[in-house]
């Protein structure tokens, strides 16, 4: 939705908003267990995201029958960053602007990496390559009568913002990026073997 449609109308805070997807057909709207919708080639079984292909991308496969499948809801962080400055339109930013984190997440079963914002309030200081995350739906932006949803990644077992303190230490027995990066290394090697 262009940002121009948000302007010029009275704000309707407090009213019940209709929750709609910010993009059609890229994820399920299942509040409890949402999933990205990808495609899988019926012939060679490779995956595609977003689900907009009408052909198989494998150079050794000329199939055009792509079936829709739900992708893994969990993955591990391949890399991450944040957006300290407000991205330009067509991004619709909160006002005042709130920096957000963004992650590239490796899905093990599909052996692919998918981008997504991290849930609101996630700081890069809390993230490490190799950390487990799961898919959730979150607000991308709102106008007077609708709330536009998008997929985001959420640290697995995350507590409310500020409660991440000693998570990595608990999980890995070591701490900090060193330990997690070894996990990232293993993942990369496994993918090459496949």
């Amino acid at each position: 939705m262009p940002s121009s449609e948000r302007a010029g109308r009275p704000a309707g805070h407090g009213e019940a908003h209709q929750r709609v997807a910010a993009v059609d057909g890229w994820f399920t709207l299942d509040g409890a267990g949402p999933a990205l919708i990808g495609q899988r080639c019926k012939a060679c079984k490779t995956f595609v995201f977003p689900p907009t292909a009408s052909w198989c991308p494998n150079p050794l496969c000329a199939d055009t029958e792509m079936e829709e499948v739900e992708l893994s809801r969990r993955g591990s962080i391949w890399s991450f960053t944040n957006a300290c400055y407000q991205p330009p339109a067509p991004y619709v930013a909160r006002e005042p602007y709130e920096p957000f984190s963004i992650a590239a997440v490796e899905l093990e079963a599909e052996q692919m990496v998918v981008l997504g914002q991290m849930v609101r309030g996630t700081r890069v200081e809390d993230l490490h390559v190799g950390d487990q995350v799961e898919l959730v739906l979150d607000t991308l932006y709102e106008d007077t009568d609708r709330e536009y949803l998008v997929w985001k990644w959420k640290p697995v077992g995350a507590e409310p913002a500020g409660g991440y303190g000693d998570r990595s230490g608990d999980r890995s027995g070591g701490s900090g990026p060193k330990k997690s990066s070894a996990g990232g290394n293993r993942m990369a090697e496994r993918r090459r073997d496949g």
Binding site: V23, C44, P50, S79, F80, N82, A93, I102, H128
Partner: protein
């Protein structure tokens, strides 16, 4: 590669990079005239003009070859226009080179120029829900620095790169660029200044991310036969006593141009996409797929310069200088490995030892790189070649790499455009 496949670089010219706020055509024209003058040729001697397109300057930018031809004055010559995102300049060089090697023309003019908006690159206007470049801004707020930062953070996790290493790349390039009259940023900066600049996309700071600039670059390319005849004519003939400068310098030659695409499955997230290819379906390794190569060499970026080395019959060890696409300080480190200067994970060591600074074994970005220029998209890959030409001729005053004989450029354009130009003297 036999000399019969070489193409001579008779002239190189640039318009200084900056934020000048004029039409891209004026920059292209200045660069073209400088390249023609450098070659000792007139515009009407040119048989093909090969333009590198810009998509942010309306229709004239989409047909850049014709736009520059008209600006120089319709001469009836052949025309070509190429678009390959950041690799557009190399695509225009490849187009001109193919015409020359095929014997269709003897001498060609390659031109690229751009006028750019301030700030982050935003997608071109309008609501385009079928364009991944529009959608990544809308759904993710993913700017170009987002992708650069993902590579940088990944590198830090795998190879223990430090923030100081990233800053040191900028420091090195700023020292190189300070001596380059065509660079936009000409001030040497310190590690402390870089680390004090604001964070844009963690771990990348403002001074570690390439800006967007106005600029123009041009080359005059010819067949080796034409070059010999032309240089003889300049030396003898009726101009005796006013010998052209191309008489007293080595001739730079293009030995290879790589314009490769990725190989499926491409497992590194690429701008502007939402996801990588899936690697669940193994692609059998054939002779064609080069089972002899280390695994990382099958990744896209590593395949780019390799194709140029193979075409030229040159080994990475033979390279004396390199101009690589340092969209970020971290990306320059990735390139050290991808152009074969060292193994994966060793780039930080090369940087710290001074190997890639002027005075070291293989200076990288002696021009100052994108770090000192800011990106003028269709001109940038041509500017990389201009710098290598000046270095091979010994004309890079203030930043000259002594005795440089082999230079390589490397660049990766959006949507799968690899480009690398290998030059020798």
């Amino acid at each position: 590669m036999a000399e019969s496949r070489h193409v001579a670089v008779l002239g190189a010219g640039m318009h200084p990079w900056g934020k000048w706020g004029r039409s891209f055509v004026t920059y292209g024209l200045t660069a073209a005239r400088a390249a023609l003058d450098d070659a000792g040729l007139g515009w009407t001697d040119i048989e093909l003009v090969s333009g590198a397109d810009t998509i942010r300057n309306g229709y004239p930018g989409f047909v850049s070859g014709a736009t520059f031809a008209q600006a120089l004055g319709w001469s009836g010559c052949r025309v070509a226009s190429s678009y390959a995102a950041c690799a557009s300049g190399a695509a225009a060089i490849a187009n001109a080179r193919a015409h020359i090697l095929a014997g269709l023309v003897d001498v060609a003019l390659v031109v690229g120029a751009d006028t750019t908006p301030k700030g982050f690159f935003a997608p071109i206007g309008g609501e385009r829900r079928d364009d991944p470049d529009w959608l990544r801004f809308h759904l993710l707020g993913a700017t170009n620095p987002t992708y650069f930062a993902l590579y940088a953070r990944r590198r830090m996790a795998l190879h223990s790169t430090t923030e100081q290493d990233l800053a040191a790349v900028k420091v090195k390039n700023s020292r190189h660029g300070a001596a380059n009259p065509y660079a936009r940023y000409r001030k040497a900066v310190s590690i402390e200044e870089v680390l004090a600049s604001p964070m844009v996309a963690d771990p990348l700071r403002l001074m570690e991310i390439c800006a967007t600039s106005d600029g123009g670059a041009a080359l005059v390319l010819s067949s080796m036969d034409f070059a010999r005849r032309h240089l003889e004519k300049l030396g003898g003939g009726h101009g005796a006593g006013s010998t052209h400068r191309s008489q007293s310098r080595p001739l730079a030659k293009i030995a290879a141009v790589s314009t490769v695409t990725p190989r499926y499955p491409s497992t590194v997230i690429e701008m502007p996409h939402f996801a990588t290819d899936s690697a669940v379906t193994p692609i059998p390794r054939t002779a064609e797929n080069r089972p002899d190569l280390p695994d990382h060499a099958t990744e896209f970026r590593a395949s780019i310069a390799r194709a140029a080395y193979e075409e030229a019959g040159v080994a990475p060890e033979d390279v004396d200088i390199a101009e690589v696409y340092d969209l970020s300080s971290a990306l320059e480190l990735d390139w050290y490995e991808d152009i074969g200067l060292c193994e994966k994970g060793e780039a930080e060591h090369l940087l710290r030892s001074g190997y890639t600074a002027i005075g070291g074994r293989v200076p990288v970005n002696p021009s100052g790189g994108l770090s000192s220029f800011g990106e003028a998209i269709p001109a940038q890959a041509i500017a990389q070649v201009c710098e290598i030409v000046w270095q091979l001729r010994g004309e890079a005053a203030g930043r000259q790499v002594e005795g440089a004989r082999v230079g390589v450029s490397a660049n990766q354009g959006l949507f799968g455009h690899g480009s690398s130009v290998l030059l020798i003297r």
